[in-house]
Amino acid sequence: MKAASLIILSVLALILATILLKGLPALNLDMITKTPRGGFYLGKEGGILNAIVGSLYLAGGATLLSLLLSLPIVLYLNVFAGKRSYLAAFTRFSLDVLWGVPSIVYGAFGFTIMLFLGLRASLLGGMIAVTLLVLPIMSRTMDEVMRMVPAELLDASYALGATRVETAFKVMTRQTLPGILTAVLIAFGRGIGDAASVIFTAGFTDHIPGSLLQPAATLPLAIFFQLGTPFPEVQQRAYASALILTIVILFVCVTSRLLIRKSSKNIIK
């Protein structure tokens, strides 16, 4: 068991070492402050600001959309539906199945939705696909936390004459706030790092998207395209991009840990 834990640690260390060693030499201020200029993919100047901003917009928007859907779902499952509700059991089962669906399928499915809505590859299209991808992850993570809430805590609220809606929003969400934040963090991390779901839906561009209907570049695709070139210096930039993506995720991770600690003080154990 200890060995297994050490293996997982060394995997993380190796990944970090690889992107640090290969990416750090290519990392400079231009990378994070400039958009690609002509010939960027041939090794000329410019940066990947377009992909950094695109990824943040896209993952941020998708996380928000997903939260707007997940919260009602899990509150329904844990406050409104009875313990023997078939609908609740079926919803949980569906979410589990959706969790396992590969992200390229969401990309393809998102693409058909876009065609249906008459959208082109755009920030909005990418958001829709990524929302579909992270929704089951976010919902089930929240659901697991809410299932642990003792029935007596909700009863205490009902006994004071509170309705289910009041109990859901004033007691359940407060009690599970750290879990909700964790779910949001996991969903954001998953969303910002996924390439397959955005490859058809978000498109790729050298510009920072100015509206929801314009195409958006993303970091995973920037890495993919740069690694695919035959030029060593561009490939090195791919590792630098991976490093930036990792740093973004690390930053989100650390801030949310702090938020979670801060929001835990009211929790009833």
Binding site: E152, A156, Y158, L160, R174, K265, I267, I268
Partner: protein
């Protein structure tokens, strides 16, 4: 509602009835948890529901404020009248019924918010908005549950930081803040240390001037100390009920006698 009613001994009683239970049957799936219970709970007295574990004490208590609901495979028949209104009739406003009762559970469950917000939770839900009014309500009810002196300087700290005994008194204050008529206690002292239990018991003895109090307890000595009226349940059946003195000193039923003397448990 002045009315005479009969205890299980067929004595005419001069208590005023506050809750009137008639032919109450509760099933959890196939399990028959309460079997045809009919009894009256006297007004402004302490009623103790006693009996061995799993006999339906808590189910009976929770049927009074409809915390058992026809979800999760529970079916309920019969009637429970509070102030003359059958709370299981269709179209009854459950929140109004529950507002009439404060509930103390076995383990205190403060809400995940500050001490102040815990007490203000009920009044806020029922429409009290003014900060001044809320402050006044919080102070009055914390005083009533003898917690005020201990927490008055840290009302905005999380309730979860209080000791278990303090939490239970906070739950009492929270329940009192919605101005109930009835206090329901489900073994309210079982998680507390002796000193805290004693404090809760003292509060009950003072509160019965204004409130009808119903507690579930498996501690016979506690029932003897507090109760004016005793209800003995066994395996979901109502075996005996009557004034505490009579039930304890001179039980009519063999089973009650055996339980009181510790033969069955």
């Amino acid at each position: 509602m002045e009315s005479l009613f009969h205890d299980s001994r067929n004595n005419a009683m001069t208590f005023q009835s506050h809750i009137r239970v008639r032919n109450l049957n509760v099933h959890y799936g196939r399990e028959h948890a309460l079997k045809n219970i009919s009894l009256d709970i006297p007004d402004k007295k302490i009623t103790a529901i006693i009996g061995p574990s799993g006999c339906g004490k808590t189910t009976l208590l929770k049927s009074f404020n409809r915390l058992i609901e026809p979800v999760d495979g529970i079916s309920i028949s019969g009637s429970v009248c509070v102030d003359g209104q059958n709370i299981y009739e269709s179209g009854v406003d459950v929140t109004r019924i529950r507002k009439k009762m404060g509930l103390l559970s076995q383990k205190p469950y403060p809400l995940p918010m500050s001490i102040f917000d815990n007490v203000a939770y009920g009044p806020r839900i029922h429409g009290v908005r003014s900060k001044k009014a809320l402050k006044e309500i919080v102070e009055r009810n914390l005083r009533m549950s003898s917690l005020w002196e201990e927490v008055k300087d840290r009302l905005n700290t999380p309730a979860s930081a209080l000791s278990i005994g303090q939490q239970q008194r906070l739950c009492l204050a929270r329940g009192l803040a919605v101005e109930p008529e009835i206090i329901l206690g489900d073994e309210p002292t079982s998680a507390l240390d002796p000193r805290s239990s004693q404090r809760i018991e003292q509060r009950f003895l003072e509160l019965k001037k204004n409130y009808t109090i119903i507690i579930v307890t498996h501690i016979l000595r506690q029932a003897r100390r507090l109760a004016d009226y005793v209800v003995f349940l066994y395996m979901g059946k109502l075996i005996e009920h009557g004034p505490a003195g009579e039930v304890f000193e001179n039980p009519r039923q063999e089973m009650t006698r055996e339980y009181i003397y510790g033969v069955i448990s």
